[in-house]
Symmetry: C2
Subunit: 198 residues, 2 copies
């Protein structure tokens, strides 16, 4: 039976791409950046502000500056997280789908989901991003720094909003090395495992 | 292509049982306690001393007392680990098999293996051991203590002999929750993933 599938992933592991392909294979919707826009509509926040706080922003800038909303004095980043969580719950009500990032595993912890975590060796991930962005080998050191930084931010984000440890196997049904056997191996393993979930 | 499969597992997760069934499904040998005896033959240590230091011993007693061999002044526990490692390498030369425990993933790190880690929620593992050993619910608290202790010893053993963190996803190809979807799900997922390994 097809489930709601949540995906957490190390930066550069290809987890997002695997999620997209998994959704395609199962014929179910895939939610990632679109989720941000839906959440923006949901709480009537100016879209450009909203997008400043999405994952892309977290990947570029520090998370330190969290302006307070004049209404409840709840930090904007927290309001956005809560709005995204509402959207995620609404999507889950509509049936099977794949949701990448945004602590969806914890937001939907009371639902019947398949929670996946993707990782790969550090060097392979750095190499993958360099190839994807068409950058020369001379950028390797620089990219190592970026990958470390984004992983750290994802870890902090997950820890902050869930109180749990990002990438700890016990938080997921399956954790998969996405490089050693490739994306198809991960997709087939996830589908095989999912077939037995109630 | 069938590989050498190494299995690490939390106590009570059923990883050993899954390993046995996986070997049966693939028609390849399964090595666990037999390995101990083969290693004993290999280094000509009295079998009863050898068995004192196997996993069962580690599960019962403290690992503190490590008498020194009169020959090289290498602790007996280290000599046994080295002997087991030699046996594991020899088994690997003979072709595909399933090896449970004994840091086989690290011993064979230069070989083409599939490294699996099995886990399950703490309470489910405690419950599973109670059921397996036919013990009443009143023993739950006592069993919780035992499960924690054995996990700690496996973690220490792995850390001591490999320098790596036990149960850290990046050390394995796949980490699987053995309870949420059941043993068959784990077996099918592992077989599906393995099909793509070179």
């Amino acid at each position: 039976m097809t489930k709601i599938i949540t995906i957490s992933r190390e930066f550069g592991s290809g987890g997002r791409e695997i999620g997209r392909r998994l959704a395609e294979k199962l014929g179910i919707p895939f939610y990632d950046k679109d989720l941000i826009r839906m959440a923006a509509d949901d709480i009537d926040i100016e879209e450009h502000i909203f997008e400043m706080y999405d994952d892309a922003f977290l990947e570029k800038e520090e998370m330190q500056y969290t302006p307070f909303s004049p209404v409840y004095e709840v930090p904007m980043s927290d309001q956005i997280f809560m709005a995204q969580s509402r959207v995620i719950r609404r999507l889950a009500e509509h049936g099977p789908c794949v949701i990448v990032g945004r602590c969806a595993d914890m937001v939907l912890k009371d639902e019947q989901c398949l929670n996946l975590f993707f990782y790969a060796s550090f060097k392979k991930r750095v190499q993958r991003i360099l190839t994807r962005e068409n950058l020369p080998e001379s950028e390797f050191k620089q990219m190592e720094k970026k990958v470390r930084e984004i992983d750290r931010k994802r870890r902090d984000y997950y820890q902050y909003y869930t109180g749990n440890e990002w990438g700890k196997p016990q938080n997921y049904h399956l954790c998969l090395d996405s490089h050693k056997a490739g994306q198809d191996a991960c997709i087939d393993a996830a589908v095989a495992y999912m077939a037995y979930l109630d």
